[in-house]
């Protein structure tokens, strides 16, 4: 002690900070713990050692099971000491060591003795320790004491029993529930905290009985709950009751609202705030109900305590989302919070103001925010920028001052994320507010004049290339863009060249001058820049008007997914035949489960290229591309999900993926041999297509060898009428030669036996010919397709379990993408409209509008309207439904 006082006067910087635990080490402390076993206990010393042990645990040190047990056993010896302070430390360390059930027994008797001691502190603590470490069996022994303790006249003992009860309710509810009467008595206690704990426990005992909770709330809201914490609890229970009785209230008074309102006048701020929060959270709260709550929150806004201001502004911020008008009264107080020391409060205040602000206050607000921006962290600035963006979209007329604000902060110092948020906001404003375009583009141009982030520069240049040529005077942007070619790194220079070319392609008047600039770029030091300039110069073609195809080729979007293109390019081996981008599939497929297992394992057969971590999306492509016989089938339209053809855990696991081409269908059978003692060779699937008349088998590719647990594929290809959604059923038999494998050497015997294995049937259904392709705006898409190829008909679906079951059946039958969430049928509805979109084989866009109606008890009637570019396709959809 003395040491530390002396030390306090010294200059701290000069010496290592003194700590009583300096150089403490677990091993040494465990050694020290032997004093617990001394016949003559030194209480003070023991206390110190326990403190050291607790210090180690608190610092995150862990004891091994053996160490913990050893410490625990020696600690139990300390119950002999009558030193009060030491006993408290013993309680603490027992809780921290959380002994196992068989160890607990050792201290049980000591703790039970303490529980019945005359010293209240012993009793309270022993209850808490015992309940913490005990299990159910012991609990029945001490239940009697606990029950008594609940109504003990000493509040500390009562609270200890009640809080332990709350914890025990999770593990031994049946025991705690028997204390109901005592707990109810404790609710009436004069001690504040006892009342709080008793109320919490009573509610938890009854929480599943709505009526009982409602009764509890009714009686207590009338009565006198003294403790502020208990009052807060009661408010929570009350709002729960209000929520659950929600629908029964008509236009009249909300039950218990008066109680909540009266709590707004409570003397404790904690209770006032809890009540205000409860009122603002009420379902469908009216502005009349809100007013008193908003008034008290407004008072809190000018409190000297940051916690109160924070709580109030956070609640008001939430209210502003649903009832902005109710919060406007607080705007003046809120504005003064913009300069609050606590940045969380300031940011919440600003975003609230931006939500509630009206058009006239925007300018004033912006002025205040400008002062505030300089001294907050980037993360808060981003929040503010985002709030301003939405404000600007709300008040488009105010774009000028908001855009100015954004361009000002864009010029100031800031990190990448912050700058990106600003640039994104300006881009959104340019897109959505036509008037803002010219000034916004100029702000961006000025920004790239002095921009340290390559990513942002290239993004802005790209955006300029799209928007710039559409403006009244595109020539004024050229200077900014061409400056980049002189002053920036190669990446930015290359994108500046592309942007220049876009201007040249779109604005014929500028073309000759752009060409002069592009020619200068031919001497750039970077080859990408030179390449781009050369490409544009030669394709855009001198003085004549730029061809639309050229423009599409240069600046149109790439309709091939990049992943697919990448895989195809990787698979391409240099040969006579040039790489054809049209052969790259355009569909991004989901990853079937069967292939997930295979990923990472070395593929066998087929001489497939070694698989990296590439996704199995591409593995189909690679597989199909690697088989020359499939090359002339054209572009892959769709690959189905894998369909299991065997039961789980059979000798051979086989599933099939259906690949649909315009004139062909390829079945890819994924096989796994699950018998370690076997090697399969010449594996092939014999397909009987007698129930699929329109299909004729053209080719089948056997799998040469299928060792244990390494997947392999065999393929069967069928020809079918061009573009038609031919359907049919196929039965499959797996044929192979089995060779026994010596389990020790792993070598297969030379002679094999031919064998067959029956697989389940496989069907090609209409849905296989339709791709799920979502549309963003169904109504627009529907209108744009027009009624020319529309086909409408009505169908009776017969009795169905429910409307939603009928809807799902039709969706699955067609295999189309439900739009705008219309696949969900609201419960108890008698009619429903479902919107579907997709692409039919032959790349024909199809939209479907389904109107379902419940006819009589269970009969479902459906009206089907189909629109597409091709009436045969519209008819085909109807055929699918009619035959399905």
């Amino acid at each position: 002690m003395a040491q530390s006082y002396v030390k306090k006067d010294d200059d701290r910087d000069d010496e290592v900070e003194y700590s009583p635990f300096m150089g403490i080490e677990k091993g040494a402390v465990l050694q020290e713990a032997r004093v617990f076993n001394d016949p003559q206990l030194d209480a003070r010393r023991c206390s110190q050692v326990i403190t050291k042990l607790l210090y180690l645990l608190n610092q995150g040190e862990t004891f091994t099971k053996v160490e913990a047990t050893e410490v625990f056993f020696s600690v139990t010896k300390l119950f002999q000491s009558r030193d009060l302070g030491l006993r408290r430390m013993v309680y603490l360390i027992i809780k921290e060591l959380s002994p196992s059930a068989d160890e607990v027994i050792i201290v049980t008797s000591s703790l039970m003795k303490d529980m019945n001691s005359k010293t209240d502190m012993y009793r309270a603590n022993a209850i808490r320790v015992l309940c913490r470490i005990t299990d159910g069996t012991l609990l029945t022994q001490i239940e009697r004491y606990l029950k008594q303790a609940v109504v003990d006249k000493n509040p500390v003992v009562a609270s200890a029993a009640l809080v332990s009860g709350i914890h025990l309710l999770q593990t031994n509810p049946e025991i705690v529930k028997r204390w109901s009467n005592e707990v109810q008595e404790a609710v009436q206690s004069r001690a504040a905290l006892v009342q709080f704990h008793a109320l919490a426990l009573l509610h938890q005992i009854r929480q599943n009985d709505r009526l009982a909770v409602s009764k509890l709330v009714t009686s207590l809201t009338r009565g006198n709950v003294r403790s502020p914490l208990a009052q807060c609890l009661l408010i929570r229970y009350t709002s729960q009751v209000i929520r659950e009785s929600g629908n029964n209230t008509q236009s009249g008074e909300r039950p218990f609202y008066d109680y909540l309102e009266s709590c707004l006048r409570h003397k404790s701020e904690m209770v006032i705030f809890e009540a205000a929060k409860a009122i603002t959270d009420l379902n469908g709260v009216t502005s009349r109900e809100l007013t008193p709550a908003i008034t008290v929150l407004q008072l809190f806004l000018s409190s000297s305590k940051p916690v109160l201001r924070f709580a109030a502004v956070r609640t008001l911020n939430k209210v502003a989302m649903t009832h902005p008008m109710a919060v406007t009264n607080c705007n003046i107080d809120m504005e003064s919070l913009i300069s609050d020391q606590n940045r969380s409060i300031a940011t919440l205040a600003i975003t609230t103001l931006l939500k509630t602000g009206n058009e006239s206050s925007v300018d004033r607000l912006m002025k205040q925010i400008t002062n505030f921006m300089s001294d907050i962290a980037d993360e808060f600035k981003i929040v503010v920028v985002e709030a301003i963006r939405s404000l600007c979209l709300k008040f488009p007329l105010k774009y000028r001052s908001l855009m100015n604000f954004l361009s000002n902060i864009l010029r100031e110092e800031g990190g990448f994320d912050y700058k990106k948020a600003i640039v994104d906001s300006i881009v959104i404003l340019i897109r959505d507010i036509p008037d803002a375009k010219e000034s916004g583009l100029l702000h961006l141009c000025e920004f790239i004049e002095d921009c340290e982030f390559t990513y942002l520069s290239t993004q802005i240049l790209h955006f300029l290339g799209i928007e710039g040529p559409k403006t009244l005077d595109p020539s004024k942007y050229i200077r900014y863009i061409y400056n980049r070619v002189h002053l920036e790194n190669a990446t930015v220079r290359a994108s500046a060249v592309s942007t220049l070319a876009k201007f040249g392609a779109s604005v014929d008047a500028l073309k000759p001058r752009i060409f002069v600039l592009l020619r200068r770029c031919l001497f750039d030091s970077d080859d990408e820049v030179r390449d781009r300039a050369t490409l544009y110069l030669s394709t855009l073609g001198g003085d004549i008007e730029t061809d639309i195809d050229v423009r599409d080729f240069l600046f149109g979007s790439l309709d091939t997914p990049l992943v697919n293109l990448e895989t195809s390019l990787k698979n391409y081996e240099p040969s006579e035949e040039a790489f054809d981008i049209n052969l790259v599939p355009k569909e991004v497929k989901s990853q079937p489960l069967a292939d997930k297992k295979a990923a990472g394992k070395k593929p066998t057969g087929l001489g497939a290229p070694p698989t990296g971590p590439a996704s199995t999306v591409d593995s189909y492509e690679r597989l199909l591309l690697s088989i020359p016989e499939f090359a002339n089938f054209g572009k892959l339209f769709k690959s189905s999900a894998a369909v299991e053809l065997t039961e789980a855990e059979t000798e051979y696991a086989v599933n099939v993926v259906k690949h649909i081409f315009d004139t062909h269908v390829v079945f890819q059978y994924n096989c796994i041999n699950t018998i370690p003692e076997q090697l399969l060779e010449d594996v092939i699937v014999i397909v009987d297509a007698s129930e699929a008349e329109e299909f004729s088998q053209v080719f089948s590719k056997p799998l040469r060898s299928l060792p244990y647990d390494s997947p392999g594929q065999t393929f069967v290809a069928f020809e079918k009428p061009d573009g038609s959604p031919a359907t049919g059923k196929f039965s499959n038999i797996l044929k192979f030669i089995v060779k026994e494998v010596d389990p020790t050497s792993g070598e297969a015997e030379d002679d094999g036996v031919e064998d067959e294995y029956q697989l389940e049937d496989l069907e090609v259904v209409a849905a296989d010919y339709i791709l799920k392709v979502p549309v963003s705006n169904f109504r627009n898409a529907w209108e744009s397709l027009g009624p020319d190829c529309e086909r409408v008909d009505e169908y009776g679906l017969g009795p169905r379990e429910s409307l939603s079951e009928a809807v799902n059946t039709v969706i699955n039958l067609l295999g189309m993408q439900p739009c705008e969430g219309t696949e969900v049928v609201p419960p108890n509805s008698r009619s429903h409209t479902c919107l579907l979109s997709g692409v039919f084989i032959g790349d024909v866009k199809v939209l479907v509008r389904l109107s379902f109606g419940l006819d009589g008890a269970k009969d479902v009637a459906m009206k089907l309207a189909v629109r597409s570019d091709d009436e045969t396709v519209s008819d085909a959809i109807h055929e699918i439904v009619a035959s399905g």
């Binding site: 002690m1 530390s4 306090k8 900070e17 003194y18 700590s19 009583p20 209480a43 003070r44 206390s47 403190t51 607790l54 608190n58 995150g60 009558r82 030193d83 009060l84 302070g85 030491l86 006993r87 603490l92 809780k95 003795k113 001691s117 005359k118 010293t119 502190m121 012993y122 913490r132 500390v156 609270s159 200890a160 809080v163 709350i166 914890h167 905290l193 709080f196 704990h197 919490a200 938890q204 929480q207 914490l229 807060c232 609890l233 229970y237 729960q240 701020e269 904690m270 705030f273 809890e274 000297s304 305590k305 940051p306 916690v307 109160l308 924070f310 709580a311 956070r314 020391q341 606590n342």
Partner: protein
């Protein structure tokens, strides 16, 4: 202790030094299962709050969906954490109770070395404020009294003990002899 339903609950109480190192901490929720996640949380909270002035009034912030109220004295940083739905003022009252009790227990010498010197009192204090996430007591003087009333210095002569304490000791000795 997440299943305490509507009951206000405390996720942790932290007492850190001026470098963000632990003096004493107590976690009541499973949000931070390992020691390293606890340390990471303490570091994060410390770095986010260290520059604020929380010396006269308790300050508050919202970090990773937790409300944290905090107060600094000398080289000690007091924190109380609750869920983002928690009543901020309840958390603040717990912080105030903890702070007041520590001030009393350290006889107004609230600093790190004094706190380490009396770590047993600080740990007992944490034990008396919250039990498994449930608030036990928020009144500072009461908490301090609960900590000290059984922490009589065993070496102190009997004359210096108050009459009640002496009586308690005597009664305790008496019952013990009866029971054994």
């Amino acid at each position: 202790m997440a299943s305490n339903g509507l009951c206000p609950s405390i996720k942790n109480i932290l007492l850190l030094d001026s470098e963000g190192k632990r003096v004493a901490v107590k976690y009541y929720s499973d949000d931070w299962p390992t020691n390293s996640s606890k340390v990471a949380f303490e570091k994060f909270v410390f770095s986010k709050t260290v520059k604020t002035n929380a010396r006269t009034e308790a300050e508050i912030t919202l970090l990773e969906n937790n409300i944290i109220v905090y107060k600094f004295v000398q080289d000690l940083h007091f924190f109380v954490t609750g869920g983002d739905d928690e009543n901020e003022l309840i958390l603040a009252s717990v912080l105030q109770g903890f702070f007041d009790a520590v001030t009393l227990l350290l006889r107004n010498n609230v600093d790190k070395s004094e706190a380490l010197e009396n770590l047993d009192l600080i740990l007992l204090c944490l034990d008396e404020i919250v039990d498994g996430g449930i608030i036990l007591e928020t009144n500072g003087p009461l908490i301090a009294e609960k900590v000290t009333s059984h922490n009589m210095d065993a070496d102190a002569p009997l004359s210096e003990q108050t009459l009640t304490q002496a009586w308690a000791t005597a009664r305790d000795t008496f019952t013990r002899t009866l029971l054994t």
